[in-house]
């Protein structure tokens, strides 16, 4: 505790005058504070987008660890290169081939999770006021990065088939006519976070063409592509265009987010800058984590593990959809064919952010839709993550959520039309 200054006034931040302008909006949030309850076991958290790591074969991870310590510890415990471990990059080629991507190992850069990859790409391209086109809704972590870069976030109409090409072209042309500089289109084409929708194959081609014509770089974020429940989604957009797409991949959903290993596949010129930016920010991605992933991929049947995840998440998705149908009959939900999320649309007048304190009391947590927009929209939406709780708890959580909604409906009926 800082002692009160001699002049008798303090604001507890002696450096307030010194921060960069972009730090202005970094403040404590009441909504974020409410999420503190999710660490209590009594609370069913449908909030955080976490994989069910209990389904991992931990013996294999232990084996990978032991093998790493026996055979490569001198390298694993040392600094590495800024582009990342070569053997892991070769293995990543194999993983990306499942998405139809054929690439040179030279064009892959390993990052500390794909979130770090997105941060690096954003840092390379975005000046204050530059436009980033995103889906509506878009991934909260991306919205956060773009906001921090002081970019202008423009949401493009998105339906159950993904981002609308027509709306994309119209939005891009309108913003260009307004004199805005559009730099990136960021999207999660497979089982998107938070909507769960998948961009159709036809639309992928249209989106690629629209962006190519207008000189807009596409950032394709694909953490969920392998977690499909039925039919495999279309090949990655990067498989169709090597020059105009930066591809982000991750081990967080197919292995473990605790390892923080992701990667970026970029055209050579961009990759060159990415490596320098990576070195400048962190010197090198964690050697130990990279090599542990690499060992795991060498000794484990990792495709079988992904299959285990698919079956597990499909069961949970089914439980979530059944529970929504039973307990939330007036709520619309997306019906994802993979991934982690349902995107709910609440009856008119309900506000998911305002209901959060009631949810804490009812021992359930969810993410309000406003988190997934950069323009204040989303108050009538909720993101439900079904991947982490057990199927039974998914059901319990959604039943509790129905009580929250009923209480809020009761309040709205009592107080009528509000400001």
């Amino acid at each position: 505790m800082t002692k009160t200054r001699a002049d008798g006034v303090t604001n507890f931040d002696a450096w307030k005058h010194s921060y960069a302008a972009r730090a202005e909006n970094l403040s404590v949030s009441e909504v974020r504070a409410l999420f503190a309850v999710v660490s209590r076991p009594e609370v069913v958290s449908l909030a955080g987008g976490m994989p069910d790591v209990a389904a991992l074969d931990t013996e294999l991870i232990e084996k990978a660890f032991a093998s790493l310590m026996s055979n490569r510890k001198d390298l694993a415990l040392q600094y590495g290169g800024g582009q990342g471990d070569l053997r892991l990059r070769e293995q990543i080629q194999e993983i990306m081939a499942l998405e139809g991507i054929h690439s040179s190992v030279e064009d892959i850069t390993i990052t500390t999770g794909s979130q770090h990859g997105l941060e690096l790409v954003s840092d390379l391209f975005l000046d204050k006021g530059d436009v980033v086109l995103v889906e509506a809704p878009s991934y909260v972590g991306a919205v956060g990065i773009f906001r921090h870069k002081e970019a202008h976030i423009a949401h493009v109409y998105t339906d159950e088939h993904g981002i609308s090409p027509q709306a994309l072209a119209e939005t891009a042309d309108r913003l260009t006519a307004e004199g805005k500089r559009i730099k990136l289109l960021y999207l999660v084409p497979n089982f998107a976070n938070p909507s769960g929708v998948t961009l159709t194959a036809d639309r992928r081609l249209e989106v690629l063409e629209i962006c190519k014509q207008r000189g807009i770089l596409i950032v394709e974020d694909n953490p969920y592509g392998q977690l499909y429940f039925g039919e495999k989604p279309p090949n990655a957009m990067r498989s169709l265009d090597e020059q105009n797409v930066v591809y982000l991949g991750s081990f967080s959903k197919i292995l473990s987010p605790g390892l923080r290993v992701g990667y970026v596949l970029a055209p050579p010129a961009i990759r060159e800058k990415l490596v320098l930016a990576n070195e400048s920010a962190i010197l090198s991605p964690a050697s130990f984590a990279q090599m542990l992933v690499s060992e795991y991929l060498s000794i484990a049947d990792w495709q079988k593990q992904i299959g285990t995840f698919r079956d597990l998440y499909q069961t949970k998705r089914d439980a979530a959809l059944q529970a929504v149908e039973q307990f939330l009959p007036k709520v619309h939900t997306t019906r994802p064919d993979g991934g982690f999320f349902l995107w709910l649309t609440l009856p008119e007048g309900l506000n998911s952010k305002e209901m959060l304190p009631l949810a804490v009391t009812e021992l359930v947590a969810y993410t309000p839709g406003t988190a997934f927009f950069g323009d204040g929209r989303g108050a009538d939406n909720i993101r439900i993550c079904f991947s982490h709780p057990t199927a039974d708890n998914v059901r319990v959580g959604i039943e509790r959520l129905s009580r929250v909604l009923n209480q809020q409906i009761d309040l709205l009926e009592t107080f009528g039309k509000r400001d």
Partner: protein, 314 residues
């Protein structure tokens, strides 16, 4: 190193869990610096068994919200014969319920803003629109809407015009089944901490609160840099002396012991108004009670140790 074993309770399932965890860690830091052996623990299904098995010398609860502040935890500890820092169950129950505390304090000829507290059911039965219209007319705008129980300004709103009234009510009812609507007093916001180290309650220097945004909400309370705190407050000595007297009178009239924080507002004419009393004041790095302690030239380790030793004796 002292032989004292202090169990600090922090966290819990409440809207203020995050603040409670921070408070608990700060108290533990200070007591550790004082040479006390501390353990931080969540209130959970195993707490009672743990208490009975380990019988700590003293319990210090930094639980904010119902279990920690409504008197129930204090009641349990009293029943188990385990010493604890702070007020007993009776005082906690009275202070926790803001409308009840206001009534009791008003009986001491202490001014408190005119208010009304109503449960959800009353609005449903009596037609919310007409109730709000009547309350708005009688109390006048601006007014303050707040949950009848709870802290950290959660669910609180200043309502400046009738059209914002209903939304503020819905937001407040999300935190508590009873909501208090209070006339807004324009003036200087003060927090006066009261401490009793065995010689009777005394008021610590008043902290004047000046948030950059004009409203002392959640973000302004817990984001360093968003609020200026003046200790002592920039008011005449006469006013500060009276504020200290009132804070001690509130502490005593509610039956509080050892420590509390009394929130007051001094209007433009110098009149002092009671807003609420806190039996478990925040102990975070930006909280008001520790600021007041430090303004006396005392240290937190020494002061917290004195509170613990006093609790052990009593």
């Amino acid at each position: 190193m002292s032989d004292l074993r202090v169990l600090i309770l922090a966290g819990g399932i409440s809207h203020e869990r995050d603040v409670s965890l921070k408070s608990g860690r700060r108290v533990a830091d200070a007591l550790t610096d004082a040479g006390v052996s501390t353990e931080i623990r969540e209130p959970d299904g195993e707490l009672v068994g743990h208490l009975m098995a380990t019988r700590p010398d003293v319990v210090w609860s930094t639980l904010h919200g119902a279990v920690g502040e409504d008197g129930s935890l204090q009641n349990l500890l009293q029943l188990a014969g385990i010493a604890f820092v702070g007020s007993g169950s009776a005082g906690a129950r009275l202070a926790w319920d803001k409308p009840v505390a206001k009534v009791l304090v008003a009986r001491q000829d202490i001014k408190t803003p005119e208010s009304i507290a109503l449960p959800k059911s009353s609005f449903r039965e009596l037609n919310a629109e007409s109730v709000l219209a009547m309350v708005g007319t009688e109390l006048g705008f601006p007014l303050v809407v707040k949950p009848a129980k709870g802290g950290s300004a959660q669910g609180c709103a200043k309502v400046s015009e009738p059209k914002s009234f209903a939304k503020a009510m819905v937001d407040a009812f999300a935190y508590c089944d009873q909501v208090m609507i209070e006339r807004f007093i324009v003036g200087t916001e003060l927090a006066v901490s009261v401490i009793d180290l065995g010689d009777g309650p005394i008021a610590l220097p008043a902290v004047e609160i000046v948030p950059d945004s004009g409203e002392f909400g959640y973000s302004e309370r817990y984001t360093p840099g968003q609020t200026n705190y003046y200790v002592p407050a920039r008011l005449d000595d006469e006013v500060l002396t009276e504020a200290a007297r009132i804070a001690v009178a509130v502490h005593s009239s509610l039956g509080l012991t050892q420590l509390s924080r009394v929130d007051l507002i001094v209007d433009e004419s110098g009149e002092i108004w009671f807003l609420e009393a806190n039996v478990t004041p925040g102990m975070t790095e930006t909280s008001l009670f520790p600021q007041a302690v430090l303004a006396t030239e005392a240290t937190l380790p020494k002061t917290y140790l004195a509170l613990v030793k006093l609790a052990q004796k009593s």
